[in-house]
């Protein structure tokens, strides 16, 4: 059974400097509150893993918490560039950022292989692209047909952190709506923390509900609104204005730092 902890305890217990950490979420259910807590606790030298690093990773990269980024699409969805991500790669500010870049299909299969504890997954992809020269893939031949395919190595993060709608007191978690790769990230990681909108006495099965049993989760922390400005289907709405506004906030280093200091790092946190 998962431990029910405070967000502060959960992050302190599970995330250390230098860890590879997957804060997953595919547009929906992005674990902003947990990512902010990682920043408040001053974690450094992280390998951040995520298919779609967006505003949360822009914030973490901009604060210099990451040494390395493993990803497949780094943009502010529907808005444009991630300015802190770009600044780190283009100018090494506030520190250089090492990259391991894949396609979405590659990352998804890497997570699936990790969840299955297999060393690699087989897929069709990457062929003909320049990515092959800069990332970790290998040719593999079908032993039955001779067809050449591509192998991608499994992803096994030290820690997976995801957000869900609810958990019961045994730490069984239910999420619904767009599920992304969160289940795979949790099952493939060595440790896991799930933040939830609410703790309930009993999980009521939902259409589209995915239940992750408490016994494969290390810790569950209640964090109402913990995915804002992303959303938790049925509980909070996506704050599209915030994503648009982030383009302005993040464009200049000073504005960004001031915003982070005021809204994320201070003891009296405006949100989260």
């Amino acid at each position: 059974m998962a431990d029910l902890v405070s967000l502060r305890e959960g992050v302190a217990e599970l995330v250390s400097d230098g860890d590879s950490v997957a804060l997953e979420g595919f547009t929906h259910l992005i674990p902003f509150a947990a990512g902010h807590e990682v920043l408040r606790q001053g974690r450094r030298e992280l390998e951040l893993i995520r298919m779609t690093p967006d505003v949360l990773y822009d914030q973490m990269i901009g604060m210099g918490a990451a040494r390395r980024l493993v990803f497949s699409y780094g943009g502010n969805p529907g808005v444009g560039s991630l300015h802190r991500f770009r600044d780190a790669i283009e100018h090494g500010w506030p520190r250089p950022l090492e990259l391991e870049e894949h396609s979405h299909a590659g990352m998804a299969n890497r997570y699936a292989a990790g969840a299955a504890d297999l060393p690699f997954a087989v897929m069709r992809g990457y062929l003909g692209t320049d990515l092959v020269a800069y990332t970790t893939v290998a040719p593999i031949t079908c032993p039955f047909t001779g067809e050449q395919l591509v192998a991608v190595p499994a992803l096994r993060p030290d820690v997976a952190i995801v957000h869900a709608q609810e958990a019961d007191r045994q730490g069984n978690v239910q999420l619904w709506g767009i599920p992304g790769v969160q289940k795979e990230a949790v099952l493939g990681a060595h440790r896991s923390l799930i933040t939830v909108e609410r703790i309930v006495d009993e999980l009521e099965p939902r259409p589209g509900g995915i239940v992750i049993p408490g016994w494969v989760i290390d810790a569950v922390a209640e964090a109402p609104g913990g995915s804002r400005p992303s959303y938790s289907l049925g509980i909070t709405d996506r704050d599209n204005d915030f994503y648009r506004e982030w383009d302005r906030v993040s464009r200049e280093r000073e504005t960004f730092l001031e915003w982070m200091s005021r809204h994320v790092l201070s003891e009296e946190v405006a949100w989260h």
């Binding site: 547009t27 943009g75 997570y111 062929l127 992304g180």
Partner: protein
């Protein structure tokens, strides 16, 4: 009622032309922005049965509003089915279950290969772009690809800084050699006109200009010696119905 060209923006024309392209499509794969707007418009005016698939995992979404992200709540709430990302790529995109995919890019070359990764050198880019995302496997798996891009020399380049996504590769036979399925890019819809791969050379040629656009202008904005087909078409202007639906959609 036909509208005068002056009343219509080139972006509106581009969206309308993209939507028309979906008249007979069954399943379209779309990202956000103009592709998504075009697909919703197609459902409104041309093809109410069109199945919209977003890579967030929503199959058969029926958004009333234009979504900002590919994972907006409305997409999940209106979808016929929602699947995980591994399932989306492995069971739905990879096997070629999608007819038409709309893709964008920061750079496109004469073989409709796409760059969405970097401007400059990969290790030390001048401009870091978001990256390939789902595009490489979408382009190698779907029935056909339609590229939607603004027409300028910055975008239509002689040589990509980085090949993120293969269109027609080095030309004829290249997709087959790589084991790809589908026809690859069949059209590039810009704010100036429509480019299509020549059936034999696979090089993009200008097949259609939007009303009021000079061919010379299109050539000027293209980074290679653009060929023009002998029976160059002129885009049928947006109808009143198309334009009204598009504007109503945008205003929602």
């Amino acid at each position: 009622m036909a509208l005068r060209t002056a009343e219509v923006t080139s972006g509106e024309v581009q969206t309308v032309v993209a939507a028309r392209r979906l008249r007979h499509a069954r399943r379209v794969f779309i990202g956000v922005g103009r592709p998504s707007t075009a697909a919703i418009l197609a459902r409104m005016v041309h093809n109410p049965e069109l199945v919209l698939v977003y890579e967030s995992g929503t199959i058969g979404a029926k958004p009333f509003h234009i979504p900002l992200s590919i994972g907006d709540g409305e997409l999940a709430e209106t979808a016929d089915a929602i699947v995980s990302v591994p399932e989306m790529f492995n069971y739905w995109i990879g096997p070629g279950r999608i007819d038409v995919a709309f893709l964008g890019a920061a750079q496109i070359d004469r073989y409709a290969n796409l760059n969405s990764t970097v401007i400059g050198e990969y290790p030390h880019p001048k401009t870091r772009l978001p990256g390939a995302g789902g595009a490489p496997e979408i382009a190698s798996s779907c029935g056909e690809v339609v590229v939607i891009a603004p027409h300028s020399k910055r975008t239509f380049v002689e040589k990509l800084d980085f090949v993120s996504t293969v269109g027609h590769g080095h030309g004829p036979g290249c997709r087959e050699h790589l084991g790809f399925r589908g026809a690859g890019p069949t059209a590039v819809i810009t704010d100036l006109g429509v480019l299509e791969p020549h059936p034999e050379s696979k090089q993009l040629v200008l097949t259609c200009v939007h009303e009021g656009v000079e061919v010379e202008k299109v050539r000027d904005e293209t980074g290679w010696e653009l060929e023009v087909v002998s029976d160059l078409q002129v885009t049928e202007p947006p109808t009143g119905e198309e334009l009204a639906a598009l504007r109503e959609l945008v205003s929602r």
